[in-house]
Amino acid sequence: MSALSHLIEKGASAQHHAPWPRAVVDPAAWTSAALELAEGRLTLLGLWGEARAVHMALLDEPASSIAVISLEEPADGYPSVARHHPPALRLERAVRDLAGLEPRDLPDIRPWLDHGRWELRHPLGERAATLTGPDPYTFLRAEGDGLHQIPVGPVHAGIIEPGHFRFTANGETVVRLEERLGYVHKGIEALMAGADLIRGVQLAGRTSGDSTVAYAYAFVQAAEAAIGLAVPPRAVWLRALMAELERLANHLGDIGAICNDAAFPLMLAHCGVLRERVLQTANNVFGHRLMRDRILPGGVAVDLSEDGRASLKALLAEIHRRLPALVELYDNTASLQDRTVGTGRLRGELARQYGAGGYVGRASGRGFDARGILRYPPYDQLSFEVPVLNEGDVNARVWIRIREVDQSLSLLGQILDRLPDGSIMRDIPVINEGREGMALVEGFRGDVLVWLRLTQEGGIERCHLRDPSWFQWPLLEAAVEGNIVADFPLCNKSFNCSYSGHDL
């Protein structure tokens, strides 16, 4: 029996949790799950809290199975997972900030998202009044001869999201990078509580602007799983169409931007044109450049017309025609390769330990892709490959993007050729009982997790959204070590972690 099903069997299974099981376990089983994680037999997918429970989503990768375990009434604290398994660290710090649940023996007790500036403390738990004024934040120490610190942010020099980076450098070499995030925390999960599904999908779609389709997609899949609603096939295919367009646009933009950070703006110019073509076509076809608010519970908001289909086909043909020259340019420019090859190397063991999703994981040998492993529709009927490389450097992350562009172009072609006819929306039935649902959808950056509990009336009681960046940000700290300060933008851009998606 797999490690995961063993764990689930030990607990009391929750009613109406779909499509994967959830079990309420005792602290001993909770800790044994933490040890399984530490041993590498399970992968952590998420850890979140509410007023009277803490939950952990786990993946058994060889068995392709997923489950949630919960610990109830942890009022006097719960056994810390991060104590055994460091990838849980920031999640547990966030759970404490938001829900007020105390992880016992947590190795790092500093707050994470809470900077001491909110109107209240523990917004998702037993709310408490805020303390007077923010506490000073102590950065980790790095000591030694000739070390100096470089503080950067939260306001950066470019058009970038806000966050703070504290570099400790020896001359030009970075010996430690410490991130401090939380600046763009908007309280999305608290806004979700009590909202209806329409407002829920709106908020989900604004969790991270570049992944608006992926978030809306994951949110509706979780809601529909909870309700037990089957969506019309055409809508299912159109969702995937939008998701692939989003992936295409982001990869194209990022490939150019990474090269630009290596002082090679020609690539940015050309890739920027292709990205813009994708957005303009999305606007013509779906009425919004980023395809925001186009996926709704029950289906999609707009149908694809014949004209729309033709202009998408034309777009694909154009990218097919133009891309090879750009790939050749990337591959054959020595000055560019000089900056990307061997830079910002992320070791495969770390990528696996942190369950790194997306191009970050796949450039370091971890081939997980929610589309490939979970085969949610319509991907179960489409053929595609998940590219994997082992070098783990900036160059490998660029190449994964290039290959994923190829895959997305092929997927888009298949979807356009085989798009089923029929309606694009189904009504949401009344459920009359509390239900829970969950989804894992592959966004361009990696797997986006949404977990939610619906009330009897079908409103949202609790919704948790987990961005892939949670597990990628800490890896950036590791990948930068030993590189020169000037290569940080390159490393950072090749990871392109989300601030807003992480801070929520």
Binding site: R117, V184, V273, E276, R292
Partner: protein, 177 residues
Amino acid sequence: MRKLLFESLIRPPLTEPRPPVSDAAMTELAAAVERSARRRLGRSLSIRAVDAGSCNGCELEMHALSNAFYDIERFGFRFVASPRHADVLLVTGPVTSNMAQALERTYNAAPDPKWVVALGDCGRDGGCFAGSYAVLGGVSKVVPVDLHIPGCPPSPTDILKGLLGLLENVNEKGRVS
């Protein structure tokens, strides 16, 4: 590479027609100009982007302004790296409590005369994040706003229209005074 460079010599430019100035932006602008006297700036505007809690959607469209289609530098607009170099702060987001101080400091670091443009629905009143314990609800809660460009996110053309409006009014004012 040579092939690409050669092609870009013979290909026509990837530009869109210059957009007209939108009415909504103009009305807001008139009020903004009334509030204080504006010195003539010349046909150039240095913009410092400040993300005060955006979802990053507005930033994506700001980036798009620099691509070959919109190429905003031809209008004399450019994004600068420091508020010290800025005429305009282009601010996005519902202003999270955690970013309020940074926004205020950035504003104080920009030399006078300066304008603040709130970008996106969030920037106006917090958009769909209004009412959260963690946001203040719009840029004007922290710094005075001269112009608001609506949208979620506003398209590059919308942003361009708004900024052109700002510039043209500044120039006009400069002529009379």
